[in-house]
Structure formats: structure tokens, C-alpha cells
Subunit: 322 residues, 2 copies
């Protein structure tokens, strides 16, 4: 049986879970409840694993790396809390989103608390470089959210805007997860910068594959869950490739996006059009190019089993099916 | 004519305004628009003035102090944006609050952006101490908001909870404004700690006076604007003093708070009861004690005209009428 690329980090994942739980033992029970709800809603912990692995690349102290690794996971959780309020999402990993359980007020303030707590934990390492990476990242995430809110449903959305959102919303935090791992291990600034580039490319590839999977029906799932972005009229890279190619397919898709509501049968039609146009293939090629850039940046780090494991994680991004 | 205690900072206020405007020249026009709206809605800039003054106490560089002074003002603005969404406020300094103009989504995300931008500006000074003060402050502010949301409308709210909210929501940011001023000037940690205490006491006094003024009708205003807290069933120190004294007055007020809606005539009755009970006088005495503590902490700083001006600002808090 093929190993999952996260298998070599099994022991780390246990430690990460412990730290995630323990760092949440804060004063107010309500904050703890909301935070636990979102934190334990079953993420893959890819961000903390990257922090721990990138620290190990440079011989960093394990416990320090674990303690720091909760920072990107809390920032991620905080952004999910605010995203759900903003996007009025219906389900988050199969559970009702926090705002449906506690209401907007508590959810907004718990998100604020998690952002603040993450930044506060980061500052306990006394490293202006780490503080600066985290501060810049939170700013990029907020920018990305706003650009997305304003423009992502506009069918004239272009590749430049798509990447502006992806780089800020997904890329920056994955890049930061890697860079702070290197920094806490005492790596030099240019080494941390290279790992930022590694994570940034990884993040772009990850998001593109995610956007492609929304148009790929899994047979065993009977096409369940596909077309979510399309129904929300979210313009992602597969659609942008179609629009760039122009022609009849592009106008058909544009007509559907201009309808009041995108129906289930529209999803089927658009999926076929995208598939025929070769847009999915082109988007995957673009993702593969980002993985190549990621691996190139990763190779600046000293060779080690951990570097091999990070390579495996990178390649796996192109293979995953959900 | 009596001088206003901010008069000696007139020149600084001009510089502060310039810096507030310039630091907002960010990428996305919408963020800029919302940020400008809240930043230019007419605050007294007391927080940036404290940063600049506390830096001057320790001979700090003017330009560095001005650049840093925008941080507490942005944090304040960010918290106002989120507060208004959470409290569904109707007017903010006479203007409709941002969420009424741009909606909840844009307002939440602009608040996130302003928090992030403030923290990012703070990190440009490369001081782990400043980073840590700011991170801790943002966390305290979020905690204070949540404690307030959950408990402040509970008539059994006690002095301990009242102070837990005031210290976090108002006190922490005023304390931080002072402490970072000292830190950017190169003051020692215990000197910065003393100015944190100065600001924390100042903040408590400021909030108590604010809460008292809500029960004091200005003749020339024909009682306009009083009873706002009471109508929102917000339990503040004057009410807590009444409840602590017990007796018939306390039960009458409790009956009014247990009504579905607090009417205008109830405000008149409660104002009279509070005034008769001596609760306002006791609350003012409590504020005066905090100002005494503030002045004691301030005296650890070297004697200078700036220290005198800060003393004058502190005393003025007890005199202000709106």
C-alpha cells in the first residue's frame, strides 16, 4: 500500500494536537468553546507540519517548533471564522459553521481573539523576524479576503486578480508556516526567504488543484460536491483558462454565469465544456509549474530525510483527489 | 480663557494627522475608503498623543514616535469597526457606522485589515518588546469585547467583571500607547512598565467618567444623549454602586432593568435615584483614585515640561463634561 506523504510526521502530529489543545486553555470559557469547535473540526494540520519540518531542516529545537507551529493553525482557524461570517457558508467540513451555532457577534470576536492569540504566541519567541513575517501575513490575508469579496464574482476576473487573491489568501500563510520554521531554528534570512518562496509556490499549486477538483466528479461519490464554486459564481483558474481561449465555449459559460441562479444541470454542462476545452489540463500544468518552483526553492535547504519528505508532500498535491 | 490640556500638543497633532493619512496609502481602494471613513470621523487622537509624549519623556526621536503613534489609533479604529458590527450601533460620532454604509462583510474585513496593518507597522521598529506589548494588547481587547458581550447586560454584573472589561477594552490600549512610546525612545523595561501602569489607570478613570457622564444631563443640551447605556441595559459603575448599597433604590432600578424596554421616563427616574444615592459621587471618587495612581506611576519618569503636560491631561479627565 502506498504511504501517505504525511505518514513520516505521525509522531509530530500527535505533539501538534497536544500543543493546539494546551495553548487554548485561556481565560474565557466561551472563547475556548468556539476555538475548540473550529480547531478540532478536522483540518489536516498541513501548516503546523510545515513549520515543524522546516525547523527540522535547519536543526531546530523540537519543542520550540511545536510551540510555534500552533501559530499558523490559529491564524487559519481565525480566518475560517471570519470567512464563514462573510461568505455565509452553510457547512464547514461537514459541520454547521460557528456563526450558525453562536451567532455573528461571538464568531467575529472569537476570530479576533484567535488572530490576537496567534500573534501573541509568535511574539513569545522574541524574534523580530518572526513577528514581522506573521504581521505581514495577517495583513496579506486580510487584503486577499477583501479583493476576493469585491472581485471574485465578476466574470471579467482575470488571471492577475485570481493570483492576487490566491497568493494572499492561501499562499501567504503556507509560506509563513515554512519561513517561521526556518527562523525559529536560527536559519539565515535568505534561507527563510527561500522557504517562504517554497511555501508560496506550494500554496498556489494547492489552491489551483482545489479549484480544479471542484470540476472533477469522483465516480465513487456520484459527482457529489462538485460545482460548489460555480454555484457561488466564484471565478477560478479553470474558468479563466476557458475565457482566455474564448470562442463558443466561453460565451456559453458566460451566459450561465449571467443567470440569476446556477442550477445543477448548468454545473454538468460547464463541467463538460471545461473538460473539452482542455482548461483543466492547462490549470494542472500551471499547478505543476508551481510545484517545480517550490522544489527548486526547497533545494536551497541542506539535503536530509525531512527535505525528502517535504518533496513528497509537494508532489502529492498534484495527485490528491479531494 | 483656560487652556485645553491638548494645546501643548498642537504641533504634534498636525504631524500625527499627516502620518495617519500617509500610512493608509495602501493597495486596495475599498480598504482605504473604509479606513479613512473611520479614522477621520473625529477622534481626539489621545492615544497617539500619549505615544508621542511618552517617547519625548525619554528623549525619543520625534519622527520615530510619530510613525509609531499611528499604531494605537489604527487598533482603536479596527476595534470600533468590529464593535459597531457586534453592537449594531446606530451612530458613531454623529455619522452612520461603517457597517451601515458598506455592510457587515466589508466592515469586518476592513477591521481585520486595520488590526493587521497596525501590527505590521509596529513590527517595522524591530523591537520584540514593542511587538509583544502590541500583541498582548490586541488579545486583551478581544477578551474584553467577549466578556462584555456575554456579561455586561446581566444586572448581577459585579465590580470585578466591570473592571475586567474596562481594563481590557479601554485600559489596555491606552496603557500600550504609553508603553510603546517609552520603548521606542529606548527606555528600560521597568520604565515602560511604569508608563503602562500610568496608561492603565488613566484608561480606567477615563471610562468611569464616561460611564458617569451618561447619567449627568448637561443643561445646555437639555439632557440630550443621556441614558444611552441604560437604554442598552449596560451595567456600568454608577449602577454597580447603587446595587452595592442595596435598599429600595436598588430594587427600583433592578425592576426597570428587568422590563422589556427601558423608556425615556425610566431614564429620568434612574438618573434621580443614582444621584440621590451618592453613587455618582462614589464613582467619581473611584476615578479620582485611579488618577492618583496614574500620577504616581508617571512620577517615575524624569521631570520635564512634557511630564507636566501629561499630568494636566490626567487631571482634565475628571473635569471633562462630554
Amino acid at each position: 500500500m502506498k504511504r501517505h506523504p504525511l505518514d513520516p510526521f505521525k509522531h509530530d502530529l500527535v505533539e501538534i494536537e497536544n500543543h493546539l489543545r494546551r495553548s487554548l486553555e485561556c481565560e474565557h470559557p466561551l472563547i475556548q468553546e468556539v476555538a475548540q469547535y473550529i480547531i478540532t473540526s478536522g483540518g489536516k494540520r498541513i501548516r503546523p507540519v510545515l513549520t515543524v519540518a522546516c525547523s527540522r531542516l535547519y536543526g531546530g529545537d523540537r519543542d520550540k517548533a511545536y510551540a510555534l507551529s500552533v501559530v499558523p493553525e490559529y491564524l487559519h482557524a481565525a480566518s475560517l471564522l471570519h470567512d464563514d461570517v462573510v461568505d455565509e457558508g452553510e457547512l464547514r467540513r461537514g459541520k454547521p459553521p460557528a456563526y450558525r451555532v453562536w451567532g455573528n457577534r461571538v464568531t467575529i470576536l472569537s476570530g479576533d481573539y484567535l488572530y490576537a492569540r496567534a500573534i501573541e504566541i509568535a511574539t513569545t519567541f522574541g524574534s523580530p523576524e518572526i513577528d514581522s513575517v506573521i504581521a505581514r501575513t495577517v495583513q496579506l490575508m486580510a487584503e486577499g479576503e477583501i479583493i476576493q469579496l469585491v472581485q471574485s464574482k465578476d466574470p471579467s476576473l482575470d488571471r492577475k486578480t485570481y493570483y492576487a487573491v490566491v497568493e494572499r489568501k492561501t499562499g501567504a500563510l503556507i509560506a509563513a508556516s515554512c519561513a517561521i520554521g526556518a527562523l525559529v531554528a536560527g536559519a539565515r534570512e535568505e534561507e527563510a526567504d527561500a522557504l517562504w518562496s517554497f511555501g508560496a509556490s506550494l500554496g498556489k499549486a494547492f489552491q489551483i488543484v482545489d479549484d480544479c477538483l471542484d470540476y472533477i466528479a469522483e465516480e465513487e461519490e456520484f459527482g457529489k460536491g462538485i460545482g460548489t464554486d460555480l454555484k457561488e459564481k466564484k471565478i477560478t483558474l479553470p474558468l479563466i483558462h476557458c475565457f482566455e481561449a474564448g470562442g463558443e465555449r466561453a460565451s456559453k459559460i458566460m451566459d450561465i454565469l449571467n443567470k440569476e441562479r446556477v442550477e445543477d444541470e448548468d454545473v454538468g454542462l460547464v463541467t463538460t465544456l471545461i473538460s473539452e476545452s482542455g482548461a483543466l489540463k492547462s490549470a494542472y500544468e500551471e499547478a505543476r509549474a508551481h510545484i517545480d518552483s517550490a522544489l527548486e526553492a526547497l533545494r536551497t535547504a541542506p539535503s536530509s530525510p525531512t527535505r525528502d519528505h517535504l518533496e513528497a508532500i509537494s508532489r502529492y498535491i498534484l495527485e490528491r483527489r479531494r
